[in-house]
Symmetry: C2
C-alpha cells in the first residue's frame, strides 16, 4: 500500500492531505510513471472515511496532470508530463491528459483521439513570444496595475484591432465601435441587451446553438432557419436580426455565397435589421480567394462583427471582440450597459504582440500548419473510405463534415467510434429546430486542429475499423 496517512486533528481537510501527499510522492518520484493508484473504494475501506475527499483529491490530481484515468483499468501516475514537455516529446501523453473537459465526478474513461472541433494546436502556441509580450506589458504598464481599465476595453488595444481588421478582413471601424470581451457568452449577453427590441433573432439550422440559446434564456424569440436557405427565407419572416457564420458555416463548413451576402444585406437595409457575423475561424482559408466579410460590404451600419483569439491563438486566453455599427456603439454609452473587459494585462500583451508583427507571422504559420492537417485528413478519408464517405465544408476553418454511406444513424457511428477510442461528433445539440440537416446519410463532423498528423492517420484508420460492419450493411 502507498504510504498515505490522514490526520484528524490537522487543519487541512482530508482531501487536501491526500492530494498533497500523493502530489509530493509523484513529484519526488516515489510513485513511478505508470504506477496504478488504489481505487477510491480501496482507500475508503482503508481509512474508513467517505469517498468524497478521495474523489476530490484524485480529481485535483487528474486536473493538474499528475494522474490519468484509463477506461476500465483505473488510475495511473502520469508524471512524465512535465518531462515530456521539457523534451518536446508531447505526443505520447497529450491526449490522455485533458483536464479541460473532465466529466464531473465520478471519473470516467476518456477517448484517445479526439476530433473535437474546439481544440487548437497547443504545441504551435508561440510560448516564448507570448511570455515576452506579457513580461514587457507588465513592466511598461506597472503603474497601471493599481487601477481599473476602460470597461469597453483598453483604447490602445481597440485601435490596434481596428487597424488589423481593416488590413486582414476588410472590416471598417473606429476604436470606439470595438468592445473587448472574454468569449461568445459575453458577446451574446451584450447583444441580447442591445437587440432586445429588434424582435425575433433568426439563426442557422444546424448551427452554433449556444448563441441563440442565450437569447432564449433572456426571454427573446429565436427562429431557426435552414442554414442553406437562410438568405432566401429570411424575407418571409418577422426576424429583426440574424446570427450567422458566413465564412465557414458551423458545423456544415459551407461558405455563404457573394449573392446571398448581398441578399442578406438588402434585407437588413430594408427592414432596419441587424446581421450578426460570427467570423470565428475567418483567418483560415486554404484555397481560393476569400469572400469579403459581410461587415466590409455593409453600407448602412447593419452588420455586427464578432472576432476571436480562441481559434488562431488560444481558447485558454478568453479574448474576443465585437465590432458594433456606430449607432449601437453610441447606445452602449447612452444606455450605460454593463461592460466588463477581460484582464488589462492580456489586452496590453496582445496589442504589443500584434504591433510588433508577431500576430501576422503567427497567423501565416498556423494557416500553413492547419492547411497541412486539413489536406492530410482529406487524403486519409479518401484512402480509407473511398466511395463510402463524402466530405463537405473543406477548404477553410478547422473542421470538415463527412457524410457516411450507411443505414446506421449518426449517433450509432459516434458510439462505434468511441468503442475504438476515437471521439467524433454528430449534429446533436446543434439542430436548433427539427428541420434537420437535410442530408440522407448520417453526418459526422471532424475537427483536426488539435491533432497531430500522426493522430489524424491513426484516427481515420480506427474510424474505418469502427465502422467496418456499418458500411457493409
Amino acid at each position: 500500500m502507498f504510504h498515505l496517512h490522514l490526520q484528524e486533528d490537522s487543519q487541512a481537510p482530508f482531501y487536501l492531505q491526500l492530494y498533497a501527499q500523493l502530489q509530493d510522492q509523484i513529484r519526488e518520484g516515489k510513485l513511478l510513471y505508470g504506477s496504478r493508484l488504489p481505487s477510491v473504494r480501496a482507500l475508503q475501506t482503508h481509512f474508513n472515511i467517505s469517498k468524497t475527499p478521495i474523489e476530490t483529491a484524485y480529481q485535483m490530481l487528474i486536473a493538474e496532470g499528475y494522474i490519468v484515468s484509463r477506461p476500465r483499468s483505473g488510475l495511473f501516475v502520469m508524471n512524465e508530463l512535465q518531462q515530456s514537455i521539457a523534451s518536446g516529446d508531447d505526443t505520447a501523453t497529450r491526449e490522455l491528459i485533458s483536464p479541460d473537459n473532465m466529466p464531473p465526478l465520478p471519473i470516467q474513461p476518456k477517448p484517445i483521439i479526439d476530433f473535437r472541433a474546439s481544440r487548437v494546436d497547443a504545441a504551435a502556441f508561440p510560448l516564448r513570444l507570448w511570455r515576452r509580450s506579457l513580461q514587457e506589458s507588465l513592466e511598461s504598464h506597472a503603474l497601471d496595475l493599481g487601477a481599473y481599465g476602460d470597461p469597453q476595453g483598453e483604447y490602445s488595444f481597440r485601435a490596434t484591432i481596428a487597424d488589423y481588421l481593416q488590413r486582414s478582413r476588410g472590416v471598417h471601424c473606429a476604436p470606439e465601435q470595438i468592445v473587448i470581451g472574454s468569449g461568445i457568452r459575453y458577446a451574446a449577453s451584450l447583444l441580447a441587451r442591445l437587440l432586445g427590441d429588434a424582435g425575433t433573432l433568426a439563426c442557422e439550422d444546424p448551427g452554433f446553438a449556444p448563441f441563440p440559446d442565450y437569447f432564449r434564456k433572456w426571454g427573446l424569440n429565436v427562429l431557426p432557419l435552414p442554414a442553406r436557405h437562410i438568405a432566401a427565407r429570411i424575407g418571409n419572416t418577422d426576424a429583426g436580426a440574424v446570427y450567422l457564420t458566413p465564412s465557414h458555416q458551423f458545423p456544415t463548413g459551407s461558405i455563404l455565397s457573394y449573392g446571398d451576402r448581398e441578399r442578406l444585406l438588402q434585407w437588413a437595409y430594408s427592414r432596419n435589421a441587424y446581421i450578426i457575423e460570427d467570423d470565428y475561424d475567418g483567418e483560415f482559408r486554404y484555397s481560393g480567394k476569400p469572400i469579403p466579410s459581410l461587415q466590409s460590404l455593409d453600407r448602412a451600419g447593419r452588420v455586427i462583427y464578432i472576432g476571436t483569439f480562441s481559434k488562431a491563438f488560444s481558447p485558454a486566453l478568453r479574448l474576443n471582440y465585437l465590432v458594433l455599427p456606430e449607432q449601437l456603439a453610441s447606445r452602449l454609452k447612452t444606455e450605460r450597459l454593463p461592460l466588463d473587459a477581460p484582464s488589462r494585462i492580456d489586452q496590453w500583451a496582445m496589442a504589443r504582440f500584434i504591433e510588433q508583427g508577431h500576430w501576422f507571422r503567427h497567423i501565416r504559420r498556423m494557416r500553413s500548419l492547419y492547411g497541412k492537417k486539413h489536406d492530410r485528413l482529406l487524403e486519409r478519408i479518401r484512402e480509407y473510405f473511398g466511395e463510402h464517405a463524402a466530405v463537405t465544408g473543406q477548404g477553410a476553418g478547422l473542421h470538415i463534415q463527412v457524410s457516411v454511406k450507411t443505414n446506421r444513424s449518426a449517433a450509432d457511428l459516434v458510439k462505434l467510434a468511441a468503442d475504438q477510442g476515437v471521439a467524433v461528433y454528430d449534429l446533436e445539440g446543434m439542430l436548433a429546430d427539427s428541420g434537420g440537416s437535410g442530408a440522407a446519410d448520417p453526418v459526422i463532423y471532424l475537427g483536426f486542429a488539435g491533432l497531430t498528423e500522426k493522430q489524424i492517420d491513426d484516427g481515420v484508420r480506427l474510424l474505418r475499423r469502427a465502422w467496418e460492419t456499418a458500411l457493409q450493411e
Copy 2:
C-alpha cells in the same frame, strides 16, 4: 502659428476639422516630434470659438497617441509612437502615452492627488513573483493551451480558493460551489438570472450602486434601504434577496454588527431569502478581531459570498469569484446557465501563486502597508482638521469617510478640492434612493490605497487649504 483653418460651412463640426488637420500634419511630419501645440486658450482667442471643440480635438489626439499632455508644460506632438514601436525602442515614450486612463471629455486639469477608492498600490504589486507564476503556469500547462477550460473555472483553482477561504474567512465550501468570474458585472449578471424568481432585491443606501443597477436593467425590482438599519427594516419588506457589504460597508465603512448578522440570517431562514455578501475588501482589517463572514455563520445555505482579487492584488487582472450555496450551485448545472470563466492562464497562475504561499505573504505585506497608510491618513486629518472633521468607517478596508463641519455641500467641497488639484468623492451616484446618508454635515470619502504616504500628507494639507474658507463660514 500652425496652419489651421476652420470652415463654418463645412459638414464636419469644428472639433473634427481641427482633429483631422492636426492629425494630417503630424502624420505628414509637418508637425515635428516634440513640437508644442498652441494652448486651448490661444486657439480659442485665435478662432473666436468656444473651448469645447478644441478640447475635444486635443482629447482625441491624446487618446490616439498623437500628442501627449505634460504637467504644467502643455501639449506636445508625440508622433514617434509608431516609429518607436516598430524599432523596438519603446521605453522613452511609453510612460508618457497612456491612453487607457484618459478622463472623459472635456479635458479637465488632472488632479495630482487622487483619493479614488478603487485605486490600489501599483508599486506594491508583486511583479517578479507574478511574472514567474505566469511563466511557470504557461510552461506546465503548455499542452492545455489548445483547449477550452471549464466555464465555471478551473477545478484546481476552485479547490485552492475553497481552501484559502476556509482558512482566512471561515467560508465553508466545496470547489463545486465556486464560480470564477471577471468582476462584479459577471457576478451580478449570473445572480440576476439565478435569483430572478426570488422577488425584490434589497440593497444598502448609500451603497455600491452598480450591483443593484444591473438587477434593474434586467427588469428586476430593487428596494434601497438605509444601510444602517437594513437588518431591522428588511423584515417589513417583500424582499427575497439582499445585497450587502458587511465587512466594511461601501461607502460608509461601517461594519455590520454580530447581532445584525444573526438578525439577517434569521430573516433569510424564515423567508427562504438569499443574502449576497460582497466581501470586496475583507482581507483588510487593521485592528480588533474580525467579525466572521456571514457565509461562515450561515446554517441553511442562504448566503452567496463574493470575493475579489481586485483589492488585494490588482484590479487590472479582472479576477473574482462567487461562492454559491449548494442548492444554487446545482441550479447552475440543471438550468445550464451561460458561464464564461476568465483566462485559464491567469487562473493557473493564481492557483500556483496561492499554493506556493506567495498569496498569504502578499496579503500580510499589503495589510501592513495599507495599515500604515490608513494610520497616516487619520493622523493627518486630526492634525490639519482637528474638530472640523470627524472620521468614520476607519479600521478596515481601503477608504474612510470624513464628515466636515461646514455649511457647504459635499459637492462644493469636491469642487474646492479639485481646484487645489485634489480629487475627493462625495456620495453622488451612491444614493440608491432619496433616503440620503442621514448625516447632517457633508460627507466625503477618501481612498488611500493608491497613494504614497507623502501624497497622503500633501493631499490632506491641500484639502485644508481648499476648505479653509468653508470651515470658517
